[in-house]
Symmetry: C2
Subunit: 163 residues, 2 copies
DNA sequence: GGAAATAGAACCGGTTCGGTTCTCTTTCAA
DNA sequence: TTGAAAGAGAACCGAACCGGTTCTATTTCC
């Protein structure tokens, strides 16, 4: 299974929440509450996203985070790269790093390059706006009928793709 | 970084070697020598590929492995799925597994589904034949001038994408 | 019947990752 | 002016996963 890290997973959730009110800035604690991602985790993710210029941050008492651009101008590829690093199945296709040992002869390099590009294009073709559309209510509802536990664990409730 | 597992990495290398002589069967030990993947690892990978009907195996003294189909009919997606399981960034898009907790409301599910499909299509569009084309000599040459160590470690020499 | 090969499962150590905690800096308002 | 609230950044830790090995059973040919 080629899987996405939790960081990106949660990141999409949080950004999706922000995209519902693109102009508004929200504090990390507020976003954590709204998405049921732990506050510490939320903070970590928001910092990374701000560093990547996907979010703008305001420090101080009335501080918070807001989208740096409209949701239509933020791609999933960007988000993943900000949180997980460059998108590539194999690093040999990434120019600059050369520790493969058979670089010059590697017969599959062209193939991998094509694959990496195809995947990157696929992720760059989806915008945050598309991910956020058709949001019914709050992202993590206060379960009227809890799905399994009596009190839903806030730290584990918000994953988009559980495994 | 969304990365490929070593299993798939080595698997492609081994299959690429087999694809050079599609009709011929080769023993695991022979393939291990030709690709510089450890014999144990090679065996493990070959077993998985045989179980997935990508290879056919012949047991016994003169046994070995051969491609079950022509290289043009084997896709990278197949190979990765055989070695690493289903290709999906998030399992929530995979029908059958439902432990997300917010299934019904998850706003991003359609988006993820699109992304997973795009990635799968990208990998399904590359065949083993394409990966194997333009192979100059043997996959792992006996280095005339060793790249870094005096005696190249056989266990680590064959990775397509070193990291 | 023995050697050579695949089949299959169990096992183990190390790396990475998810998550937390701590300290520092900035900002605003009382 | 000072303290509380918020973000910035780094360090740290436990646990799960993964790469890799080893062991045993089974098949096949000479």
């Amino acid at each position: 299974m080629i899987r996405l890290s939790r960081l990106s997973d949660y990141g999409i959730v949080i950004l999706t929440r922000l995209a519902r009110e693109p102009g508004r800035a929200m504090a990390a604690s507020t976003l954590a509450r709204a998405t049921a991602v732990s506050t510490a985790m939320t903070g970590k993710i928001l910092k990374l996203l701000a560093r990547a210029d996907i979010l703008v941050s305001q420090r101080g008492v009335r501080g918070g985070y807001a989208l740096a651009r409209p949701p239509e101008a933020i791609t999933v590829a960007e988000i993943i790269e900000a949180l997980d690093g460059p998108i590539a199945l194999t690093s040999c296709a990434d120019p600059g790093t050369h520790d493969c040992g058979i670089e010059a002869l590697c017969p599959a390099r062209d193939g991998w390059r094509r694959i990496n590009r195809a995947i990157r294009d696929a992720l760059a073709g989806i915008t945050l706006a598309e991910m956020a559309q058709a949001v019914p209510g709050d992202l993590v509802p206060t379960f009227a009928t809890p799905p399994r536990a009596a009190a839903p664990e806030p730290a584990a409730a918000a994953s988009i793709g559980a495994r």
